[in-house]
Symmetry: C2
Amino acid sequence: MRRTAAERVIVREVGPRDGLQMAKAVMPTAAKRAWIAAMAGAGLSEMEVASFVPPAAMPQMADAAAVTAATRAAHPALLVVALAPNLRGAQDAAAAGAQSIIVPVSASEAHSRANVRRSRDAQVAELGRILSWSRSLGEGRPRIEAGISTAFGCSLQGAVPEAEVVALAAVLAEAGADVVALADTLGYAAPGQVRRLVRAVSAEVGADRFGNLHLHDTLGMAMANVLAALEEGVRGFDAALGGLGGCPFAPGSVGNAATEDLVYLLESEGFATGIDLAALLEARQVLAAGLPSETLHGRVAAAGIPRTYQAAA
Amino acid sequence: MRRTAAERVIVREVGPRDGLQMAKAVMPTAAKRAWIAAMAGAGLSEMEVASFVPPAAMPQMADAAAVTAATRAAHPALLVVALAPNLRGAQDAAAAGAQSIIVPVSASEAHSRANVRRSRDAQVAELGRILSWSRSLGEGRPRIEAGISTAFGCSLQGAVPEAEVVALAAVLAEAGADVVALADTLGYAAPGQVRRLVRAVSAEVGADRFGNLHLHDTLGMAMANVLAALEEGVRGFDAALGGLGGCPFAPGSVGNAATEDLVYLLESEGFATGIDLAALLEARQVLAAGLPSETLHGRVAAAGIPRTYQAAA
């Protein structure tokens, strides 16, 4: 529906983190910075730029501190976000200038052990340590977002009971996470499921602490899931330019929801993203130049912006 | 939402018609028959198998009569549908055994002239001749479906005013079309637009005469558009296996909504399609064997059916 004053929806680009961690090649730091600059120039206001994990485990993220610091310095208007699986990573992320830190907690026990090599309970305890540390910093402390991975299903465990996800969200909120977010890490979500979980978790943690919905497009359902979430009041989404990414535990997975397609959908539905779609498509060239071995997805880029496209007022 | 008794949604496979007419190669008749058999075996109950146009204009459809007749003979439970742009084509389709005939009428004047080489008014008049002829056949006559092409926008004309589409639908219903259907020929539709047009046209022609919604996935919005249409009460959709197809007037267009992904969405949302998704994926092999030059799309096939998939009860 067209609205006279368009409602705002936040699109957080997560390509430099989630999009790159599965890439076959390591993107050079300068290329990452050029890509981030192109996307910030297109109007993105939040960006997840790095993952603070041991470089041996993820060489694509060996320059996490450099990329985070450079992004903070170069783009003062951007909310700079980083992922950290543990206290050490969170401290490094904050030291590098990350303003918001995502701590993943898997709803699936099997995924937790595979992803952070810790049981779910142990990861909840680690989040507690991160929150205590963050609170100890007082004013200017980084915001801590608890991201519930595999909230919509897991390739290792299969279905994840919705009641367990809601209970976990309650535990994370109770522990003091600034934000609790749901991630469809595998891309298994369907719209009805999105509606139910968004509604239940939002009721549990409060709409003001409900984080960005993180969707993957493994089964081609990402845009339908966005639509269902919009109808439930979600006003923040993660996405990666070119649909980059994938999950090491999901063969055939094609990655995150494509930022270009998400912006097209949101603006067409009358939501203002603040993003210039044509400029965003140009940023794909910068990405492709810096990471030529990776296949980029995204339908709007393949077809071109149609003449019927109208950005929200 | 899960329902105790799953509501039925019709999925009409249009690959053998809409999917093939843009293919670079001509699929041999025997290969078409094998592909149609594989899809009928997977549980599809309606299929658009051919377009009755001059073979010089579309060599892929030179065997339209043979394919239509063979499908009728081999699959008595299947509703056999064909497209015909004019009276001559409709008569040939009926003679070959088509039980339902789609007559395209473009909402866009420019598309009408490019597609059927007639003005929109002239094509409405042609539909009138087809309807008169069909009525003259009495019992057992073919059903005539008026399909409004470019109902959601046109690459040649740009935006198509919704009021014009609704007015055209009224004219077609008044003329006596058994069914009036909306086609997003270019794949430009967005969910809000789908909701508005479905509601308006359905109110105009009556829900019982509102035909299958025909969606293309040019911009990656097909599944979101399906979701919006479901919420407006639409219970019939066109799709093509492997997302085959495209429009000669839409460069970069990647074709019809993929049948596999549509079935995945519908069943996951609790709607019964009667289609066995695993068997449908196997039918892709038959398609690929008969048309090796064509790239198949579809995310469910790329990723595989996840273990969390549950068909509607």
